[in-house]
Symmetry: C2
Subunit: 657 residues, 2 copies
């Protein structure tokens, strides 16, 4: 019999572990009196309800994606009724399975699931969806307690799911599974393949992706259409266990999910490619390319709902699997007392080295700290953390998108990820950084090798847009220390900073400027040269601070008094220190930065001074205004016009004017 | 005999079309007197020279990647001596094959190739490499006439190569092949798989990737190590023809390249995975993880060079294949006279619609214009271009990185690509946009659905960082028109704009403000309300301009005269118009923008006014300072504080102060 079923299923294109499934059915038969058929009848009712509610919510809102919800309704009905181990009343339960909607536009379906789970009322679903100041947003965000990460930028839910699965397997060591509903269109995003690559590399058998292959994207057919076998070959080549099913056959779905729940002998992640029909359940528009992202007008909605058997208000009960409840793993080992690293004044230390030192020490004190790097940890010095805390270090190889997404997933599980690569290469992950901010996670990032300072490698390796990029992220903190002492202090601060924080570090080693007991509050600045005859303010951060100091010394020799500010905190910036300085220096100010002129330190200074109605300013902004090539650090800084010579000249011009 | 060779080769793991290779050898035998063995002996000499020169250049510079060059030296020697059809004296020859170093850090090898080709002197190679103001930069850029696109950010050369191959196959219809040398580490970037996916979708049999599988990344072993078969399974699943070879066996390489040159029956791209040894040719450091990116000290370099047979100065001759030279395809068809679309004053038209209209008309007049979109062309209205100019439209599905990279490749071939997707999703491609700027190409991009104006879809779909992102790109032009007339004019202007240009468009339809004969120079602004009693300046762009106009009308009713500026050109910005306005309004200015507060219009205005020493400013900057949710457009604009109510209040506060 089992053999016959298997044979039949294989003819249907089902590749599933039927023995495992049979075992589950046996267990169920001995513990309940219901038959599988009865159960699936009930699941079919749930599926119809999910479709009806997806239609009602989107029609009521006047926007949304009912058809993309309807294609996946059967998958979700079987999942939530029979496989998702989740205590809906306690979303914070550590052993709950996780559910990520990588196809975030299917939010009506997700919210219909929440209604079926009994945690969102029918009224909220219909009247709250996509409304102002409501939590059932157009795309899911963690404003909802059952949502871990924000989605809606396609190709990000699965990568974030990899981060959650890493936490579950390696850090929490809990038995929860991470179920991710993916769209077929988003399989065109390289990030999905980065995710499968890393899921396979890290043997994330706790990760199960359901791909809703409804053939249609926003504007027509996808590249691979309904060719689930081609998808499966790709996923298999990337190291996944794959299954292909009819996504509207509840029995096939149930078997596939049961099979996916069984540990894979090779510890592979599982990807189920389900052939589905967009708009399934409403014949008028099934498989139509013209109904992407459109709510049905009320008359169509009425017809569709009637055809689906009308409105229901079923709540899952009895069917729902319970999460495995494991005892707490006890308290974490007492934190080590490893102090922040210290450096001697004048000692030459690269800030990237101080980043590695401080992060490693912070990791000893705070077990929640984890580190990820993009295959350059011997450049960013994340290798020190990897050496001392190998269990909390995740090498992400050259996959910056996946690196940030994994960090987002880890942060969603309560960890404090620190992500590092060259500043230039964090641009690769900007969409993921932006979405991490929407997710509301606390995420620290470090970009090394900033600016033309790096010298001979040339513009491809120079971060010259990173400050602008990070400043524009909502709620971000942007830091650019010059020396090792301030770097170490700021790394510590990032360990408790809310939201996205960014630390820019420098390639070369420069003298330590600050004593170890100096404090560096976020939002502060340091005044390094000051007297009551100051005529001009010089503002630097990172590498340019040294040029400002040298310039001040040379100006002093010429009788010009210059105040020097270290704006190590670029966002928030120390407005008071800036106002005090320009007030003292008759509005004369030179800002020098190793960044393109837009959106960086100079912008931050100008915006801050203008915002408080500062007096008339005489501001000279020195920045990298050309396209650099190769050369030595000194040649580059001189060419860009951000070295001491240029600062001296700019200051003189302001004072002489 | 052929069968025996094939069998032997298969045992060696060579999967190649030996019949094709045998055919080539036969042709050669009948036209020359040299034997293959003699030829390959000469190629071995070239390979040794490439290694020696890679060592010499990097040791002389004191930086660079000799070991990553040495692993690929045999591949390149065979390629340039026997397969690359290139007239080195005429790099502009349209029929030349193209050579892209996706592993841009192997620049010593590339420059050694240029020496062997006779176009770079030994002196330049050794004394110019990585030096200031020299063209042999740390990573290749089109400062060199034989380089099409800049590389150095890994995972970008192959995607750009796809763009070149698209041009060759579909636009130029020329027989050149695109050879791309890839590293194995960069296969971890999702963008490489986006590239293979699109190469296969578009049947780019003219694209041949050579992957230098030397097993070692910057900090240790890659994910897949030397498992070329696993790489090949992945590439094959993505639709490529694959071959796996020993990358140091000249005969195997030669056969594989010959095979790759033969058209594939399925028109697939070809990927050759070559197992190689990092540092090959210098036993002391072969396959060592400790020699990434480090030049050899002079004593080691001397030993290595001696072991490789010393310095040579061979120049390829006799061996080198010639490009197919086809007659010019004649002159392009006379340009149509299709004029820019026009709109009636007051007519409600979305600027994204005007983008589609104007681009389609521009495409009729300029045959070099091509369009690419990321599966949202019915939202961006690029679908109009696709409908009228299907041969010049490339659907890139949801793969924004590949979209921008393909556009870079197309631009490198002389086309004028226009790229479109939601503004939010262009963040996905920031690293590619940055590198397009390093490549020096002219590339136009349009981001639709900008800001909270989109309403219910929520923050994942809202471009709120795009202005900051594009402004920070070197040499960029950033435009944000409010109405259809100005949009159409600016799209035309983008057709001849140098460098990266960006046009931000809005979802909703708003009234046309300008008559069709109005001109909109880049760097200009429009004064829409003005009299000699102006008390406050209101600056808007895009959606906020309408709020400024409404605010001005309401202020006028209350007796306050407001000047209104349309800053449709955000970079460059019209400093003169801004200075004139704030001078006339006693420094009082309100800037409203649908963007996060950092790096956008407000920054541009503040920076501009400060840069020219404007008088004391009283500037109120209204921007999106929170994290939006869903809601109607009006609710969103009110919540963000950028609607007419808030502008009125801000203006009153400034005037009353």
């Amino acid at each position: 019999m089992a053999a016959a079923v298997a044979q039949q299923s294989e003819q249907d294109g089902v590749v599933a572990d039927h023995h495992a499934y049979a075992g589950i059915l046996r267990t169920m038969a001995t513990t309940t009196t219901v038959t599988t058929e009865t159960i699936l009848d009930e699941v079919a009712e749930i599926a119809a309800q999910l479709r009806v509610d997806s239609i009602r919510a989107s029609t009521s809102a006047g926007s949304g994606h009912p058809t993309s919800s309807m294609s996946a309704a059967d998958l979700l009905a079987v999942l939530i009724a029979r496989h998702l181990r989740y205590d809906w009343g306690d979303p914070g339960l550590p052993d709950n399975d996780r559910l990520v909607f990588s196809k975030g536009h299917a939010s009506p379906l997700l919210y219909a699931v929440f209604k079926a789970a009994g945690v969102v009322t029918d009224e909220e679903l219909v009247a709250g969806y996509r409304r102002f100041d409501q939590r059932l947003q157009g795309h899911p965000t963690p404003a909802l307690p059952w949502v871990d990460v924000a989605t809606g930028s396609l190709g990000q839910g699965l990568p974030a799911g990899v981060g959650i699965a890493l936490a579950g397997k390696y850090l929490e060591q809990r038995p929860y599974r991470v179920w991710v509903l993916c769209g077929d269109s988003e399989m065109a995003e390289g990030s999905m393949w980065e995710a499968l690559d890393k899921a396979s590399y890290y043997k994330l058998s706790n990760l199960i992706a359901l791909v809703d292959v409804n053939r249609l994207g926003q504007r027509g057919e996808t590249e691979l259409g309904w060719d689930v076998d081609r998808y499966a070959r790709r996923a298999e080549a990337f190291g996944a266990r794959t299954l292909t099913i009819d996504g509207h056959d509840l029995t096939q779905i149930d078997r596939a999910l049961a099979s996916a729940e069984q540990p894979d002998a090779k510890d592979r992640p599982t990807v189920i490619f389900a052939r589905t029909v967009k708009g399934r359940g409403f014949g008028e528009i099934e498989d139509s390319p013209d109904w992407h992202g459109k709510p049905f007008p009320p008359d169509m909605a009425d017809r569709a709902i009637a055809g689906l058997g009308g409105v229901r208000h079923r709540v899952l009960q009895g069917l729902r699997p319970e999460p495995t409840r494991r005892a707490s793993r006890g308290t974490a080992p007492p934190a080590a007392t490893r102090p922040r690293p210290t450096y001697s004044l004048g000692q030459k230390v690269a800030t990237r080295k101080a980043y590695g030192d401080a992060l490693t020490a912070l990791g000893a004190r705070d077990q929640r700290v984890v580190a990820l790097d993009g295959e350059v940890n011997n450049s960013t010095y994340a290798e020190e953390f990897a050496r001392d805390h190998p269990n909390r270090y995740f090498e992400m190889f050259i996959a910056e998108q996946q690196m940030v997404a994994a960090a987002t997933g880890l942060a969603a599980r309560g960890y404090r990820p620190f992500v590092s690569t060259f500043a230039a290469f964090l641009t690769r992950a900007y969409d993921f950084i932006r979405m991490a901010s929407v997710s509301g996670v606390d995420l620290a990032m470090s970009g090394s090798h900033a600016g033309v300072e790096i010298g001979a490698d040339g513009p491809s390796q120079m971060g010259l847009e990173d400050l602008a990029m990070f400043r524009a992220v909502h709620g971000s903190t942007v830091l650019y220390p010059s020396d090792a002492t301030s770097t170490a202090a700021l790394v510590d601060a990032m360990g408790t900073t809310t939201g996205i924080s960014y630390l820019r570090t420098t390639r070369g080693a420069y003298p330590v400027l600050y004593a170890e007991d100096e404090s560096f509050p976020i939002g502060g600045a340091k005044v390094l040269r000051e007297d009551d005859q100051d005529q001009v303010t010089l503002v630097g951060a990172g590498i340019t601070l040294y040029a400002c100091l040298e310039a001040a010394d040379r100006l002093a020799q010429g009788g010009i008094h210059a105040r020097v500010l270290d704006c190590y905190s670029i966002k928030p910036i120390d407005i008071n220190a800036l106002v005090a300085a320009v007030t003292a220096t008759a509005g004369r100010i030179v800002v020098a930065e190793d960044h393109h002129p837009e959106g960086g330190l100079g912008s931050a200074v100008a915006e801050a001074l203008v915002s408080v109605g500062a007096p008339k300013l005489h501001l000279t902004h020195l920045a990298v205004r050309g396209m650099p090539g190769s050369g030595s650090t000194d040649e580059q800084l001189a060419w860009a016009g951000i070295d001491a010579d240029h600062i001296v000249a700019a200051a003189r011009a302001l004072v002489d004017h």
